[in-house]
Assembly symmetry: C2
Homo-oligomer: 231 residues x 2
């Protein structure tokens, strides 16, 4: 692992809006604010100990990321994701992670494989402990590490946003319970493909991994226009 230089960094270099945005983002990710809920400005500002000004700035940031939906003079709502959104998230993730993996394969594969192995260890531990949320965290970290290892800031930023949306889906579905052994095996295959420099195997496994996740999530989703009328 890299050195921990956090002690040397200035304390308050991050703006208040950024900190507030991070807090709300994780809250949305964890399912604290289910999709569709309205976020009142005064209540959130009071709860976070800031005024409405910085909070509104943070909200605009989240709107730009696609996590919130803003209706003028009506309020801010947590974005609701339908089946098409789930498909779209995974299409984008596949595109970005594929590109990241190709960059990794052209670079330092050993270091990347080591980082992925670390994330794999966390997944195994979570799976053994039967901790579903920890498993989701480790899964999240695995893919984040993969893209981070590519060294591309833009792919990294895109993935961060997409992973948050992924967690939103999972949180809304209240633990879709993917079969842990299969999940582990697939990620192990990805790690091995990175280690061995096998691009074709990686891409094939990744695409299968993504389409599997989509079908599982979409199947567990409540039907969009859930009425049983003939139309």
């Amino acid at each position: 692992m890299a050195l921990d230089m956090s002690e040397l960094e200035p304390v308050s270099r991050r703006s208040t809006a950024e900190i507030v945005a991070d807090r709300i983002r994780t809250a949305i990710m964890r399912g604290t604010f289910p999709p569709g809920t309205q976020l009142g400005e005064v209540e959130l500002a009071g709860r976070l100990g800031v005024s409405r000004g910085p909070l509104r700035e943070a909200m605009q940031r989240l709107v730009a990321e696609g996590l919130l939906r803003s209706e003028r003079h009506r309020g801010l709502f947590v974005r609701e994701l339908d089946a098409d959104d789930v498909r779209d998230v995974y299409i984008a993730r596949t595109a970005v992670e594929r590109a990241a993996a190709l960059l990794v394969l052209a670079g330092d594969r050993g270091a990347a494989a080591a980082r992925l192995t670390g994330a794999l260890g966390a997944m195994e531990a979570a799976a053994r402990a039967g901790d579903a949320v920890a498993l989701a965290d480790a899964d999240h970290d695995f893919h984040a590490e993969l893209v981070a290892a590519s060294g591309s800031p833009r792919l990294r930023r895109m993935t961060d946003a997409l992973l948050v949306e992924t967690r939103m889906c999972l949180a809304a579905l209240q633990e879709t319970a993917p079969p842990a052994p299969d999940l582990l095996a697939e990620h192990q295959t990805l790690r091995d493909a990175v280690r061995d420099g096998d691009a074709h195997r990686f891409v094939t496994t990744l695409e299968a991994h993504m389409t599997d996740a989509v079908t599982r999530i979409v199947a567990a989703m409540p039907v969009a226009g859930g009425d049983l009328t003939g139309a």
Copy 2:
């Protein structure tokens, strides 16, 4: 082309921050604010006829998009792009546009090819007229249309941001003057590949197109640490 339903849309559905962000984004794109310039809040707010509140919200949005760099208690600066950034932008663009093209090839190729042909017409007209900025606009539109035709909102949003950064590079270089005939031929090849459903040809041409652009831009860039000292 699709129907023009703009008359039916509500007048002020877009928030002020969004409008302001669009204005500043295009200004940065067009090179009105060169990279590195500080954007004073009071001056911008006065020029746009809004107060500092909405303007700061718009700024946060642009910071989230990666167009601005915020230094606490010091100000907002237009992001400066070095050679690594150029490479990164084109890596991300290649990843996104490749995925978009594969979606298009799996969908309505004819409609997509028609939209691309329209953008190609604008490129030809601009090339004939020798209008470099119009050519850049048409080039921009071509790639935007391609990704829009994929029907993926997320790929669309990513491309919008990446294309703005692309224009930033070009504007900073004061018309890098790519050979117009070659540019036209490459885009024609891309259109034909979409029309014929030739995925391999499309990807190959796209990658060549991107790497060409990178080498051309990087070569025309001022050297990062442009001192001639021995180090």
